[in-house]
């Protein structure tokens, strides 16, 4: 079964997949890694983003990526709203461990069941000119439905990374979980900063969701599978490390692609969770952890 061609194909496909995973887990890297908010509803928001793209695409024939961009501000404000509720109900009372987690679990469940009630459990997909073509480079196939999302997610990743590392607010987001007091001394309100950061985290899911539905057809409960991917990446990256997120996403994408090429696709879901369990057991600080 083994051949160099197959391996090369798996590596290229894995790299493209990993780039997309970077987009999906970027928001979680900010909210979980840097703000310390365990948003397990993150993949559910990604799916919500996918359905927004699906709706605009199927009804008005709009481009899914543009739709994702257009809805980023909407998702940003949803994120801000969710953080307000989270802060008032749990964080301020120092009660985020048990109830905060249960809260996000409930949110995830509401989104999933809500989507099932509206759209049913059928798989949905979008139409765009760049879906369905396949470039051949030597013996290696590069499907455009993977390549375009890969490029978009790298761009989004770079934009968020630049924002976080170059601007005052961005740096404040990176600092807020480490030292609230120091942040207050710099005249930045920690709650507003966390609100901004969480908004950005959810904002990225609009675009990530659009990319997801370009890559594969989706149905509402598929989001649960991505919990493994995003948390595996966030933990493997070392919490809060943005460059680490990209590396970890590529590692996971390649690992999954190789496993599904050589062992069969039904094993792929276990890769992310397997990596997550191994990372938690042996290297909880991650590859790039402090």
């Amino acid at each position: 079964m083994f051949s160099v061609d197959l391996l090369l194909n798996a590596l290229v496909a894995g790299t493209l997949l990993g780039g997309f995973y970077a987009a999906v887990s970027l928001g979680l890297s900010v909210s979980f890694g840097q703000l310390n908010i365990v948003n397990i509803a993150h993949p559910a928001f990604v799916i919500l983003g996918s359905y927004v793209a699906y709706m605009g695409n199927s009804r008005w024939g709009l481009d899914p990526i543009l739709l994702g961009l257009a809805f980023t501000p909407v998702f940003f404000f949803i994120g801000v709203g969710v953080y307000r509720v989270y802060y008032e109900s749990f964080e301020r009372k120092d009660d985020e461990a048990l109830r905060g987690l249960a809260f996000f679990f409930g949110v995830m469940f509401i989104i999933e069941v809500g989507l099932i009630m509206v759209y049913g459990v059928d798989f949905r997909s979008v139409q765009a000119p760049y879906i369905g073509q396949n470039w051949k480079l030597g013996g290696v196939g590069v499907p455009t439905r993977m390549f375009v999302p890969f490029c978009v997610s790298i761009l989004m990743f770079a934009a968020v990374y630049l924002y976080l590392s170059r601007t005052f607010n961005g740096r404040a987001i990176m600092a807020v979980a480490q030292d609230r007091l120091a942040l207050q001394l710099m005249a930045a309100d920690p709650v507003r900063i966390k609100q901004l950061g969480f908004g950005i985290g959810i904002g990225t899911t609009a675009l990530a969701g659009a990319l997801l539905i370009i890559i594969i057809p989706i149905e509402p409960s598929i989001g649960r599978l991505y919990i493994g991917q995003v948390f595996a990446i966030a933990v493997l990256a070392g919490l809060g490390s943005i460059p680490g997120t990209l590396v970890a996403a590529l590692v996971l994408g390649i690992a999954e692609s190789v496993v599904s090429t050589f062992f069969g696709p039904s094993w792929a879901p276990a890769v992310a969770f397997g990596i997550l369990l191994l990372a938690l057991a042996f290297r909880p600080q991650g590859l790039f952890g402090r």
């Binding site: 809260f103 069941v113 039904s266 094993w267 969770f273």
Partner: protein, 316 residues
Amino acid sequence: MRLDAFHVVAAAVALLGAAVTIFDLLPINKFAFFAGYVVLQYVVLATAWNIMGGYMGYVNFGTAGFFAVGAYTSVVLYNLMQAPLIVMIPVAGAVCALLGLGMGYLTLRLRGVFFAIATLALAIVLETLVVNWDYVGGATGAYILRAREIAPFGDYVEFLFFVMLLLAIFAVSAARWIERSKIGRGFAAIRDDEVAAECAGVPTLRLKLIATTVSGFLMGVAGAPFVLYVGFVEPSSAFNLVYAVNSIAMPMIGGATTWAGPLIGALLLGSVQQVATVTISSELNLLIVGVLLVFFVIAAPEGIVGLVRKWRGGGR
């Protein structure tokens, strides 16, 4: 362990259950047993979850994983030697207890949130394993032929109902005993402040391992008769997220810090769901669970038990 009113009530419920199932004392529709079984199963699952989640503050999202491992242990035992239910239940419990212990050993030295994420991961890894494991039917599922009738209960579902009733009584009594023992006080200390507890000499890691083991055992026990109840088990039904959601929502709605919370939550929410599934739709009924969960964690953190206590003016 001193006997008190609780044990009298528990014994009375068990006797009543026996009377209803064996001697058919009351003219009860067969569907009532069918639905009652599910409600009681949730009593066991919610109580098991609460030992880890409510007493100690460690969230387990993997209830479905433990439940399914219990169910699939039964399938393996049945395939191997046509084992009877009385063998399935303790073996399934033991397997899940070991699973809980291993899980806890891997993750409980870390921050609590990693335990939560790892349990989520565990359920999906296990599901993938089962899907790829042909001996237990793989993705297509496995059948178990159960007897139509069993002496002295008559109908087999009535027998399963009675078994689940005993398991529920056992689980609630165990939770109540733990809550009032030295172990339970240790759990509460961990919930309130783990570092302080550790400093005060509470053996936190050992207590956490005890909690995952006991909790896993009870979840496995709840899953063991599932295969006989439905007659056919497939990965997506055994690993259904509904188990995870309900086992979190029920204690949260009932009140997570006491044994009565999950019991009340499971009886209430479980019965409502059974009625709603039949009369409305199963999606809407799940949506209601999600909304109730979010509502209760925000508005009534101590659940129904807390509301009753507050209403009574803080007295027990």
